[in-house]
Structures are given as structure tokens and as C-alpha cells.
Amino acid sequence: MNWQVGDNIPEWAMEEVSAERMRTMAAILRDPNPLHWDRDAVAALPHGLGKRTINQGPLGLGYIVNMLHQWAGEGCVRRLVMRFPQAVLDGETVTARGTINAIRSKNGQTLADCSVRLEHDQRGVLLEGEATVALSSE
């Protein structure tokens, strides 16, 4: 397909952010932060997040990567910069979305510079950032 600036990237949904996956991820990352595996620790925070664990940042980036892989192919990501305006909580449905902002050539590759975000239907944008993706070799 011939992609153009302004086109939206086909979205990718995580139907249910899972506390079980967060626990597995905490072990892989050796992440001692109880926010990722202890619902009571999150409930005790003054942020009103309820009794739900908070997803690890790298998992949120992983959802964005999955969207980009589904669109442009595995191994397409050249750069991903993400910021975290809101927490992603267990049990939520979240959707990765993006838009092409520029298409350029560099070292024989066609690159797309995109704005990307992870959204929740009610809470809006949870993660936001920029991605550079290799669309193809010239």
C-alpha cells in the first residue's frame, strides 16, 4: 500500500491488561516495585486508582510496537520515544493508535515518522510519543 502523510496506522488493541502478565513481567525485569504486583500498594496511593495494579512502562511500549509490527512488519521500529501522562491499570482495554507525520529517505530506507499513543475509551490518552518506522528498503 502507498502510505501518505496524515494516514492513520491500523490500530492494535489489548483487550484486557492483565495483572498476571504484570507479575510475569516483574519477574523478568527483576522489578521490585509493588505497584506492578500488589493491588493493596496501589490502593494506598493518594491517586485514587483503586485496587488495581499498574502496568509496567515497557509493556505499554510493547503494545505500540505490536501495532507498528502489524502495520509495517516485524523489526520495522527504528526509534520509539514514549511519555506517560496516565497509568495503565489491570483489567483495562487499551488501544494503540498512530498517525504518519512525515515520510523520508535515509541510507536507502524509506522511513515514516509517526505520532503514536495508547488510549483508553473513557480516560483518553495514557501514553503518547513518537516512532520512526522503516517502511521498506529502496
Binding site: M22, R30, A41, P58, L59, L61, V65, R79
Partner: protein
């Protein structure tokens, strides 16, 4: 709320330039299998590791840990760390069962004041991942806020 002592600006700024020991890391198949599954994806082709490995690979490979990174900024608790951003650059895909050389350290450490008037310390870590022959593979830049007396 009882206020906890805040590290001095000098203590925070003095960690800028800190280097981790450096070392190697190999993503095992089981590890990539579990990590990829956690993201909701299927295993990638040709033993490609999921890019989300670019968080823990450089941290472990450079000879540090999340716990040590918290401690270097004198985090009040594990709960007090907020993520500003993660910046991942890939010069080639990560692969399972490949030895990577990793170096890293603290490239910036500054005292800041938020829009709400609260003090926090903004600490930026950067890690470089390369093959044994020196070819650059990836770079990870982690920027965290060490909040003070907000919990």
C-alpha cells in the same frame, strides 16, 4: 504527613556521570517467549526478540538493576518513582541467544520543581548495546522523576 529529608542538590548532581560496570547479556529463548507473551504478541520470526527487551537487557547487562537505579537517586520508596519517558533506538533487531556488550550510566541528574510546586529529581540513564565486534545494536534512554514527599 511527616516530611522525609530530601537529598541535597549537590548529592543529586554529583551522580551525573556515574558509570555502571558494564558487561554482557544474552536474551534466552524462554525469557523472550514469556516477555513477548506479556505484550500480547506472538513470537517474532527468525529468533527476533521483542523490542520490549530493550528495557531490562541494558539494565542487567550493564551490571546494574532497577533497585540500584532507585537507590542512586535516593528514592524515598519504590512507589515514589514516576516515568518521564523511555527512548528506544534500534540500529538492528535484537535477537535471542546472542551475546550483547552493554555499557551505561547516568547522563543527567537535576533538581526540578513541578507545576504543582513539588520538588523532584530528574535523573536520566543511558545504555548502549553492541555486538561483540562493536557493531551498535540499540540505545535506551530512561528518564525518571524521583518525587519527594508526595506520598
Amino acid at each position: 504527613m511527616t516530611l522525609q529529608p530530601i537529598p541535597s542538590i549537590h548529592e543529586i548532581e554529583s551522580i551525573e556521570g556515574h558509570r555502571f560496570p558494564g558487561g554482557t547479556y544474552r536474551i534466552a529463548h524462554w525469557e523472550n517467549f514469556l516477555l513477548t507473551g506479556c505484550t500480547g504478541a506472538e513470537l517474532l520470526a527468525d529468533s527476533m526478540a521483542h523490542p520490549s527487551a530493550l528495557f531490562h537487557l541494558p539494565i542487567s547487562g550493564s551490571g546494574t538493576s532497577i533497585a540500584e537505579m532507585f537507590a542512586l537517586g535516593q528514592a524515598e520508596s519504590d512507589l515514589s518513582i514516576m516515568i518521564e519517558s523511555y527512548d528506544w533506538e534500534f540500529f538492528q533487531p535484537l535477537r535471542e541467544e546472542t551475546d550483547y556488550q552493554v555499557s551505561g550510566g547516568i547522563i543527567s541528574a537535576k533538581r526540578c520543581t513541578g507545576d504543582d510546586g513539588n520538588i523532584y529529581d530528574r535523573i536520566q540513564f543511558q545504555f548502549d548495546v553492541a555486538l561483540n565486534d562493536g557493531q551498535a545494536v540499540a540505545r535506551s534512554t530512561v528518564t525518571w522523576h524521583y518525587t519527594r514527599n508526595t506520598l
